[in-house]
Symmetry: C2
Subunit: 300 residues, 2 copies
């Protein structure tokens, strides 16, 4: 088995959802851009849909014959990228405790444990290394630096530097820039979420990322924009991991975001700076309290 067809399976599932909405499907290239895959994959999808009697397919005519049933879908776990699988496995081990700083990381062992080739693990580790949690010893193993207090402090230091600058750049953007509409949209999403906070307070994580990415993009600096990947990654796992007072935390954060949005709209740099600082301070606090104190980080 040399390569899984998860791209096909994932696109197939997404295409099934499309099926419920129309009586016939668009052209192959159109479907391709819609699903974000090549026409080759689109045709594989159509072939199978024809076989399973979901559509009748004759050249341009792709008529929907029946609504998809739950077992037309490929199982969720078969649609994951190998990289995602490896990342999840790796992060589980890392956060499940017993991952002491200084510990060695063994490519071969990881690969065997996850059941994938070493190449994929190697590539993952190289990509992952930019998050600053692991480090390579030349011609030798990787070393785990650990998800320590020091890490969180270094991360947030940069984050604050970057976001303050981005927020200032945002506020200085001309009135006719498209970002103001984006900001309005995010604002109403925040208000909506604030009302429904009881039901779906875990939807905040995703909204949070969209909001901060919008601000960082105003910096028009690829290094700042890219750095948000590090933050997003940490917060992603942080949210999954630390559920203590999640609802309260999110409620507070939504409030801070709304104030922050207000400040941005006022275009008053002083207000922006204050609102941004306030939010980042509490975000840092949240992150810090979630890190087990037990193992103090020592710097040489």
């Amino acid at each position: 088995m040399s390569k899984s067809n998860n791209v096909y399976k994932d696109a197939y599932n997404r295409c099934l959802r499309l099926l419920g909405e129309t009586r016939s499907l668009p052209s192959e290239p159109e479907l391709g851009t819609l699903l974000g895959v090549s026409r080759t994959t689109v045709r594989s999808i159509l072939s199978r849909m024809e076989e399973t009697g979901l559509i009748a397919w004759n050249k341009r005519a792709k008529t929907v014959l029946r609504d998809p049933s739950p077992d037309d879908f490929f199982p969720e776990e078969e649609t994951d990228t190998l990289a995602e699988i490896i990342e999840r496995s790796f992060m589980r081990r890392l956060l499940a405790g017993g991952a002491e700083a200084g510990m060695q990381i063994n490519e071969l062992e990881l690969a065997r444990e996850i059941g994938v080739g070493t190449t994929s693990v190697r590539e993952f580790l190289i990509r992952f290394s930019r998050f600053g949690l692991i480090e390579k010893r030349r011609n030798s193993h990787w070393v785990l630096k650990g998800f320590t207090r020091a890490f969180a402090l270094e991360l947030t230091e940069i984050r604050e530097m970057f976001e303050l600058r981005s927020a200032a750049a945002f506020a200085a953007l001309p009135q006719d820039s498209a970002v103001w509409a984006d900001l309005d949209r995010l604002e109403s999403e925040h208000r909506q979420l604030a009302n429904e906070i009881a039901m779906r307070f875990n939807a905040f994580s995703e909204l949070d990322e969209r909001f901060h990415r919008l601000i960082h993009r105003a910096s028009r600096n690829r290094f700042i924009v890219d750095f948000y990947d590090v933050i997003a990654m940490i917060f992603h796992y942080h949210y999954q991991w630390n559920k203590a007072q999640e609802r309260e935390r999110n409620e507070v954060a939504i409030g801070e975001h709304l104030a922050y949005i207000e400040a941005l709209k006022s275009r008053d740099l002083g207000k922006v700076d204050a609102a941004c600082r306030k939010h980042l301070k509490s975000a840092r606090q949240t992150l810090l309290t979630s890190i087990p104190e037990s193992r103090q980080s020592q710097k040489p």
Copy 2:
């Protein structure tokens, strides 16, 4: 051919240089740490040295029999890492012109052209991607973003942010910190180079990197320290590439460094800030003038 023995060859060459200085070699583990390789490699080296009559080897006794001659050495090009070979090839293409922004990068083609496996090229590109010059399209090719004016501006923006902060942190370091001795040593190296600038004005590049890395380290922030890799990489190729007024530029830079060092030693934050800004401004200018204007970078 599945893996070159460049580690062995490089360590062998370095060990030959050691040979000229002593009558007998130290223990295997000692040699290992000295050369930065495992004992396995040390033993391979010793075996060959015995075969070629350089040493007599009997257990602990490793007596030097003769001085190494030039053809005892492995050729320089056989001691390079694959990663280095790929990087050089890649950068040559990138800087040799004809590398328009937006151009596709083809792993297979690169691998064939350089004469290496695709895996190594892939891994190189993943590692290289953190420099912000290339970007991956999911399940597809890489895209060259180009060594443009925009890139240089984004890079220097971060650099200035990071270095100003690091310099301030540096100046605030306690008097008994080891960095002050390092700084003194660097200062005298600068003065020495200033005198000999006529002969070895290209030695500056290496000194420059050591100086700035020392300052960045004072930030005690891995993201700041790691970011210097990006700067170092760009400047490394920049120095190789742009030889115009090299001597004058370096002379100016040495002067600025000395003023910067003076400011640091004064521990006066105002002075540090001013000296740092002044130097970074001219460094940016140097970098910018070396970028061909022809193809203006467009941001969307």
